[in-house]
Subunit: 199 residues, 2 copies
Amino acid sequence: MNLFPSALDELVEKFASLPGIGFKSAQRLAFYILSLPEEEARSFAGAIITARENVRPCRVCQNLTDAEECAICRSTTRDEGVICVVASPKDVAAIERGHEYNGKYHVLHGVISPMNHIGPDDIKVKELVDRVAGGTVREVIMAMNPDTEGETTAKYISRLLKPFGVLVTRLAYGIPVGASLEFADDATLMRALEGRQEI
Amino acid sequence: MNLFPSALDELVEKFASLPGIGFKSAQRLAFYILSLPEEEARSFAGAIITARENVRPCRVCQNLTDAEECAICRSTTRDEGVICVVASPKDVAAIERGHEYNGKYHVLHGVISPMNHIGPDDIKVKELVDRVAGGTVREVIMAMNPDTEGETTAKYISRLLKPFGVLVTRLAYGIPVGASLEFADDATLMRALEGRQEI
């Protein structure tokens, strides 16, 4: 006997297909949707469709936008000579929170990961090379996560960009501000030592 | 400067309004929706609307159904004389998984919880009393969670049902099958001792 109506089963299935949502959570979310006023449930569904229809990658930097070009690329007060390369739009948000960086961005939408069958052609590397080939770029900052995949991607891209004569840098590795030496992992400590600076 | 397009912000907000989903998870889910083929995003939105429109409480037992009466209430092979009272449709599913119980159900959609301002009128108690008043019911089994709210609800309902002369029972408390005595909590052990049975 089918215990739940099929429309409920289907909604549970949809939620369970989202990353990080297991069957129990999916069930909880589906029940919650059923408990919403009909108007709110419709507005939830509408938000999904609107976002999917209107949000697209920026023509220049590939960050998410609802226009042809994103606000940062359209900005005339930001330095066009510097491009900060990140793996995801969330990383742009993280760097912008610091209110320090005044260059442009390039969002790869992923990192090279042979384990997950993601090669250079599966992320927005070609678009970056085209921008650099344009000629106005002086420096490209690699701001991928400091893990194997991030470093592989940074190295691969820096090799591609070398022929254009631009400066390729990466974020400094070291002790996080406010952290305690005692709890820093060995790799971070070694990197901090290697990158020591005169004071 | 608005970093993300507003349609994306709105979708993140919607996901963050779901129970148990924080801002970071909501962001992850919204990005995932954007990465879906448009057809799949539409089908997700459609599942929300279909479920919200078609799923309603069964006229008799209040369990979720897409018909007037749920499949269990329509069934003629199940004992109409026994009603198992549960807090949520998920509990019906849990009991049905055992393939032992052959009576009917009543879903309260909540438990009495003064802390959360949920009184007897906010859950489906009146509907249960009406069913019992109908006269065909011999036994009502309380199957709420064994916590303070569940027990309060069970006691409240049993007092309401007494005048109808039906047998009111509750699930046995005790050591879970397969569990180890050593790790059972005190309250469970005491309940198991009190409810000891001759072998």
